[in-house]
Symmetry: C2
Subunit: 253 residues, 2 copies
């Protein structure tokens, strides 16, 4: 039994383009090519195509299928196991995406009647998530996982009143800092007030305060573009000014 591309394609439920592609990448060569340049496939090729399609159905990529079928020493069980790992990882990724989308949908739709408490919890979680996404890697590198996790825990355990206090305090830091910035003196009264407010604000996130850590964070505000962007958003140079003020406040450096 010999087949041309289209005959074999019909037989296997694929298109002729696929067969030409498989020929092109050397996955399945025709038994021979006739005088007119037509690809002719024999029974051996039919069998091999079945094998290819079998692995393809499992989601194995063509390159791997090629390895499995062409090198007799290739460990197909091992290949399938690796493939399974890839599938499992992909599924985990999907699970996370789905959970995220559903969370977002719930929040956006607002169909569920969130209690104030739940809403607040969601806000806190969002704060933490956003923070993790933006700065997670750097902060964890600098301060260690434990510190960061403790900070996140502290946020989670905040009451709504505390949360609002923290937010208001954060805004006040910015306000006073801006005023102080206009004086130009990081050692002046206003700048030192800003530094002190900043210390108080940290109290909401850190489980214990140290001058070293405070000064370190101030430096990071300058070094990390993303922190810098936050403090500079009102006026350029505010991040540096805050650092200078905090250095004086803590007596460090």
């Amino acid at each position: 039994m010999e087949y041309t591309v289209q005959q074999l394609a019909k037989l296997a439920g694929i298109t002729s383009r696929t067969l030409r592609y498989y020929d092109e990448i050397g996955l399945l060569k025709p038994a021979r090519v006739n005088a007119s340049g037509y690809r002719i496939y024999g029974p051996k090729e039919v069998d091999q195509l079945q094998q290819i399609l079998f692995y393809r159905e499992l989601g194995v990529d063509l390159e791997t299928i090629k390895q499995i079928l062409t090198s007799p020493s290739f460990d197909d069980v091992q290949a399938l196991k690796q493939h399974r790992e890839k599938l499992l990882a992909e599924r985990r990724r999907l699970e996370a995406l789905i959970a995220n989308v559903e969370k977002t949908l719930l929040a956006k739709e607002g169909r569920i009647i969130m209690s104030d408490k739940e809403k607040f919890e969601a806000f806190k979680q969002q704060l933490i998530d956003e923070n993790e996404r933006k700065y997670g890697k750097e902060i964890r590198e600098k301060y260690g996982d434990e510190q960061v996790n403790k900070s996140n825990e502290k946020v989670k355990n905040m009451t709504q009143a505390q949360y609002e206090e923290a937010t208001k305090l954060g805004e006040e830091v910015l306000r006073v800092l801006h005023e102080a910035f206009l004086t130009g003196d990081p050692a002046g009264e206003l700048a030192q007030k800003a530094a002190d407010l900043h210390r108080q604000w940290l109290g909401y996130f850190w489980d214990h305060y140290s001058k070293e850590a405070h000064a370190g964070l101030a430096q990071m505000y300058v070094d990390d573009e993303r922190f810098k962007a936050y403090y500079d958003k009102k006026q350029s140079g505010m991040a540096e000014f805050l650092r200078d003020a905090i250095f004086i406040y803590t007596g460090k450096k």
Copy 2:
């Protein structure tokens, strides 16, 4: 606050290539381009980029994100719901792939000691699966879902002895058919014996026999390349010969 590509890229945790790409596809244009051709982004663009990255994290494709962000009338909740459906479908696909790979691994590894019974059940299921994959669509179109499901049910309920009988009978059909084919006479004794054996063989799969269905199937053996391939594999023309014999046997057409 203004940013060049790399500054904004660092701020957002992406590469400058991504920003140029987003510019190229019109997803995020810079606020302006300076005299040297540099892209300059302002605070508005920073905010929009955050939005883009938010949807991107949910796995939404860039084209959809563009729609969501550019047309204010666009229903983002609806878009997210559609997206969720896509994710769920993808997850189902993955589940099926994983189940299949694991089944294959179990079979290949042979680590689990399958009882004869389990092995046999797996064989039957494989038979059905293979049949569904190869011919499922056409058969279901021709005979209807109900018939096909009944047939699959019948296979599932076979005993091992019956299964072996059916297999042996199937082989005998081919053998006798081949002998008959050599006589060239579809009305001859051998050909009619083949047709009768074929009817008996059908008894293992069909829950009731009719001459019309038998003749219809015979015609399909000729019309469908894949059935044809099965009967022609020993010798070309056998599918037609079998059809002729069955037509005579059933007295149809």
